[in-house]
């Protein structure tokens, strides 16, 4: 046995990703692998010696980037998330053709539902477009979750939940987004982006929210090149000694600031509103105020970007009417949200409120009863389609907290049982 276990790095080969730091495609793969907890080696294509060490040549044809060397040795040129996921064996076929419950999204709500459903004997499948954990999965430390007095990171919470769900027999299908849902008798058929079909006697949308886009000229050109939506763990180390700006007033933004403050020279949190307490937990506000390299600016927003091949600075305007000012920035993380992920549900006619959140039984924001086909009222968490439920951030009226999402996901399972009993076979 070796005497030195230096840093718990895997002893078997890991995939190597060669790309440019300014590449959006390379960032997408880095983010995907990081969020899935898949160890990989990153090689900057602009470093000839590093490239030679892994490829034997100092340069790579730009059209071949990003290039992924799989652990088995084969190479994927112009790699995409989908091809890397398939090459690493992360894309599995469903084990069954029909499930009692098909869950869309593997964030806290979806995973809580999976654990509870599978533990109660329901045939359960979870479909996740990117990685388990949802927005909470990128959270560095959740300190107010019951039962974790010292806090738990979002990724570790997701890892444990996945293990727990699988132990009870739930299936997780990763790396393929849901393309659409259609009615099929009393149940539904979900189609994934690769054409895979899953029949669910009941469906739970726990698809969460996406980060809201920041409306600043030129921002799309800098995605992955200093501008990021969310605060994925893949970039934390790269921010060592950098000047980092985080935009947002919620807990996700606050937790991102805490994480980056451990690495970056300076972290600035920009909040459009005037009261951080309106959207962020007090423990996080207290935490931020005690970190010396963190600067919180309220009533401030980004109005411009400065860049060459990557972000170099931002222009901010404060709400006091003063002139916009330039601020040097190496990385800008946008954690404002969100936009409910309901694209895949659009075709089936799920009722939403004006902001796009799914309306469920008892909500006053929409009128699910108008198209409701059954003599009974919709159950709590049930949408305007019998047997289609919603839980977590995607649901109108939900509390945007991890514990609340877990509660809704767990609660949904009891309601799914009632629906299954109604259609028979439960």
């Amino acid at each position: 046995m070796s005497m030195f276990d230096y840093d718990a790095r895997p002893v078997t080969p890991v995939p190597v990703l060669v790309g440019t730091t300014a590449s959006r495609g390379a960032y997408a793969i880095r983010d995907f692998l990081s969020r899935n907890g898949y160890p990989f080696e990153w090689v900057d294509a602009g470093q000839p010696e590093a490239v030679r060490a892994v490829l034997g040549v100092a340069e790579v044809e730009p059209s071949a980037l990003p290039l992924c060397i799989l652990p088995v040795g084969s190479r994927l040129a112009a790699a995409t998330v989908e091809r890397v996921a398939a090459g690493l064996g992360m894309v599995a076929a469903p084990a069954r053709s029909e499930y009692d419950l098909a869950i869309v999204g593997a964030g806290p709500a979806g995973l809580a539902a999976a654990v509870n459903a599978a533990s109660e004997g329901l045939r359960t499948v979870v479909v996740e477009a990117v990685a388990p954990g949802g927005q909470a999965g990128t959270t560095s430390m959740i300190e107010n979750l019951l039962g974790f007095p010292n806090g738990i990171s979002g990724s570790e919470l997701a890892t444990r939940a996945v293990v727990q769900a699988r132990r009870f027999g739930a299936e997780l299908l990763l790396a393929r987004p849901l393309a659409g849902v259609s009615a099929d008798g009393p149940g539904y058929v979900a189609e994934l982006s690769d054409g895979t079909l899953l029949r669910g006697r009941a469906v739970l949308f726990a698809s969460g929210v996406e980060w809201r886009r920041l409306e600043v000229p030129g921002i799309d050109d800098l995605l992955g090149a200093g501008v990021y939506y969310g605060a994925g763990p893949s970039e934390a180390l790269a921010c060592t000694a950098s000047r980092v700006v985080v935009v947002g007033g919620g807990n996700s933004a606050g937790q991102a600031v805490v994480r980056f403050s451990r690495y970056a020279r300076q972290v600035t949190l920009l909040v459009r509103g005037s009261d951080l307490g309106a959207s962020m937990s007090q423990y996080l506000i207290d935490h931020l105020s005690a970190i010396p390299n963190v600067d919180v600016r309220v009533r401030t927003q980004v109005v411009g970007l400065e860049a060459d091949d990557r972000l170099r600075g931002i222009i901010v305007r404060s709400g006091d009417g003063s002139a916009p000012v330039q601020m040097p920035a190496d990385a800008l993380f946008i954690c404002i949200g969100g936009i409910p992920r309901t694209d895949s549900a659009a075709g089936i006619g799920l009722a939403t409120n004006t902001a796009g959140y799914l309306v469920t039984g008892g909500d006053d924001a929409g009128d699910p009863g108008g198209s409701w086909p059954l003599p009974r009222e919709p159950l709590p968490l049930e949408t305007n389609l019998p047997g289609v439920f919603a839980a977590g951030d995607v649901r109108y009226g939900s509390v945007k907290r991890c514990a609340a999402a877990i509660g809704e996901g767990s609660m949904a399972v009891a309601l799914v049982h009632r629906r299954l009993a109604e259609v028979g076979g439960d």
Binding site: F4, D5, D7, T12, G37, R259
Partner: protein, 217 residues
Amino acid sequence: MTEPPAVAGPDTAVSSEFAVLASGEQIATAAAALERNGIRPLLAATGADARGLVRSLLADGAEVYNNTSQTLEAIGVADDIERSGRYQPLRLRLYRMDREMQRREMRTLAASPDYVVGSVHALTEDGSLLIASASGSQLGPLVSGAEHVILVMGAQKIVRDVATGMRRIYEYCYPLEDARARRAYGVPSGVNNILIVNKVVTPGRITAIIVNERLGF
């Protein structure tokens, strides 16, 4: 500790008295002694057989930590643990954790796996296991943290007694390990901690698989 110079190359391993396979009689003697000491001995003719034994001992879905070990890498056990999907490989889980934010989680996770799988630096004919460590991080789970311990060792690691085992560590293993650490991590190794397991109070907690091949160093 002052950084010692790198001293060893592969030739050292081949020429050393400590690279010679033990006889069948020595293997049988050591195995019987292990059993008396509460350590379950299993014999494997080949590395492939040992790999099969490890597979049969590990429970599906268990949290498994594989120590860095050329033995485990050579016979495919490291690959089984990290990449088969049958277990929860803790190395991968730890490696992806944020060392700044998740230090506490990392410490607790690494300290108490369901299984730790590793090797030893020497096995004495009277059934003692000797394991040296630079950081000491590997030793806690071996002593008591892990629920189960599986140690795979080539039969060249069998020595007469503890004194010879210590000599094996300092004169043979350390130079080779130091060279490996410098290559792999760019830092020297060190015989900073030595664990000697003479007897276990929970019989069967540790399984020692002796392979009749020269594996690792």
